[in-house]
């Protein structure tokens, strides 16, 4: 199994729904066996991207490569190896047992079914005796979602895509779903792509993260997005007014560019030793959250500045030397030129 190619490579994906552009991705690579988190608000295009990765949706324009081979449209063979767990648990109108073996049935696999269903159910913490004969309507939301997951795990998929897997379930189910998904990666090398807007949870289980805003993909994970309205000032500049009255000066957008992003590396913290110079946007806010990014061992710091939320990435040492903690007041800054538009 060569690791030359990432399991997914997306190139120049532009997807439209009617006239509206919903996805705009220049490049996206997902490594085989990795656990990738997909962040973004509702309507950002997360579900659309997952459907594309599941080969259930064909992009209007662009190319998708799976294991190095370009796949077109609905790729029947590849679709057998990739499964998607939707946000709302959807079970077929039949027993738990029949739901779980559905995927096997259509692959003409009738081998040793009872044993395998038992194993799958145990992976999601459900007892075979109690549950296998229950009908679809005799399960709680969390149980149904677990059954849906079991139906996919039993297929030993190469890729498991999860769309907000814990958004509508109870705590116990959330934990079981998490554990079962990770086990799939550990046992079989299944690649996991998990979409969630629960940052804390996502950061706790994923190795790398990408974020989507309005269909635009940020492979660097969560970033600070500034949305309109903006006021145009004459000289290649524009202004964003915050609720408190403060005006932020930004580089002017190009044509058709509506939203601004300030990358984590371009946000500075003012300290006594290094006061900000003129020309920099100087903002005062307080730290609202600090999350550990597992892979890099860095900390993501979220700072609330009036109605805007800024995100920076700092090393633990820096956090220590600055003495940062949630709730602390802090002064941030960024240059107008460091603003990118999309």
């Amino acid at each position: 199994m060569t690791q030359d190619h990432p399991i997914y490579h997306l190139k120049n994906i532009r997807h439209y729904y009617g006239q509206k552009k919903i996805l705009d991705i220049d490049d996206l690579d997902i490594r085989s066996g990795s656990i990738t988190g997909l962040m973004g608000p509702n309507g950002s295009g997360k579900s659309t991207l997952l459907k594309m990765l599941a080969f259930a949706l064909k992009p209007t324009k662009g190319r998708i490569f799976y294991k190095g081979r370009e796949e077109s449209g609905f790729s029947p063979e590849v679709r057998l190896k990739v499964t998607l767990l939707t946000q709302k648990p959807y079970l077929l109108k039949r027993t738990v047992f029949d739901n779980i073996i559905y995927g096997l049935k259509i692959r003409n696999d009738h081998h040793n079914l009872e044993e395998r269903v038992k194993t799958a159910l145990s992976k999601v913490g459900l007892d075979f005796q109690t549950f296998s004969h229950r009908k679809w309507h005799q399960l709680s939301g969390g149980e149904a979602q677990r059954v849906a997951l079991a139906a996919r795990l039993i297929l030993k998929p190469e890729v498991l895509l999860l769309d907000e897997p814990i958004a509508s379930v109870d705590t116990k189910s959330a934990e079981l779903i998490r554990a079962a998904s990770l086990k799939a990666r550990d046992d079989w090398g299944t690649t996991l792509v998990i979409a969630s807007h629960d940052l804390q949870w996502l950061y706790s289980i994923t190795e790398n993260q990408v974020s989507i805003f309005n269909g635009n993909l940020f492979p660097t994970g969560i970033e600070t997005i500034i949305t309109g309205p903006f006021e145009k000032t004459g000289d290649h500049r524009c202004v964003k007014k915050l609720t408190g009255g403060q005006a932020l000066l930004l580089k002017a957008p190009g044509q058709n560019e509506e939203n601004a992003v300030v990358r984590k590396e371009n946000i500075r913290i003012e300290s006594l030793e290094q006061p900000f110079k003129d020309g920099i946007n100087r903002m005062s806010g307080h730290i609202s959250a600090m999350l550990l990014e597992r892979e890099s061992n860095h900390v993501l710091v979220t700072v609330l500045v009036q109605d805007l939320s800024f995100v920076l990435k700092l090393s633990p040492d820096r956090i220590g030397s600055l003495g940062l903690y949630p709730g602390k007041t802090i002064t941030l800054g960024f240059l107008p030129e460091d603003v990118e538009w999309f």
């Binding site: 459907k51 599941a54 259930a56 499964t83 939707t86 709302k88 959807y90 077929l92 995927g103």
Partner: protein, 228 residues
Amino acid sequence: MDFIAEGFVKAVGLLINGDSSIWSAVLATLKVSACSLLISTGAGLPCGFMVGYFDFKGKKQLRTVLDTLLALPTVFIGLMVYAFISRQGILGDFGLLFNLSGIVIGLTILAFPVVTAITASTIEGIDPELKLTLVSLGAGKRHILFTCLWEVRYGILTAIVNAYGRVSTEVGIAMMIGGNIKYHTRTITTAIALETNKGMFADGIALGLVLITIAFLVNLSLSFLRKQ
């Protein structure tokens, strides 16, 4: 009131004694209903599925046409089929007029839009998540078709029962095409329609009772299945 009560008593007697002209009418009705249901379901289910599932140009117009066909009076269908299958018509040489086969043709035309339209509506009402779920489990086109139909089996059953209701209770087609020939093309409905005003009141009631009983049994089994 005596008149009606007497009719009922006589009717029950006719039924119990197995009066052959009555039971042959029942058999004729069952035969043509079953045949036309079979054909119209076999054709209507896939058509209904396609109309409901796919998006295509002119879909709205097609639905309008279908819904209009639902409202076709049975005598009009009878008239049109008559024109085709009488000796002067295109299909004249097949001897379909005054035969149960001719009635089956007319009833199939009657039932087909019912099955198709209700199936299409049922399919349209399917949760879009279903298709996504099936695709994500690896289902191909054939599997999607059959699993979708199975998932909405109650809706489809309703379509079929509805169609059955239409074909077993209509009079126009059976009368115009069958000719109400005793022991051959006399159905429950033509018998009731044409014998009653000849004064055969008890026969009419007897047949009506049979029809109601069949309808009751059909609906009973439907509600039993729903509980499943």
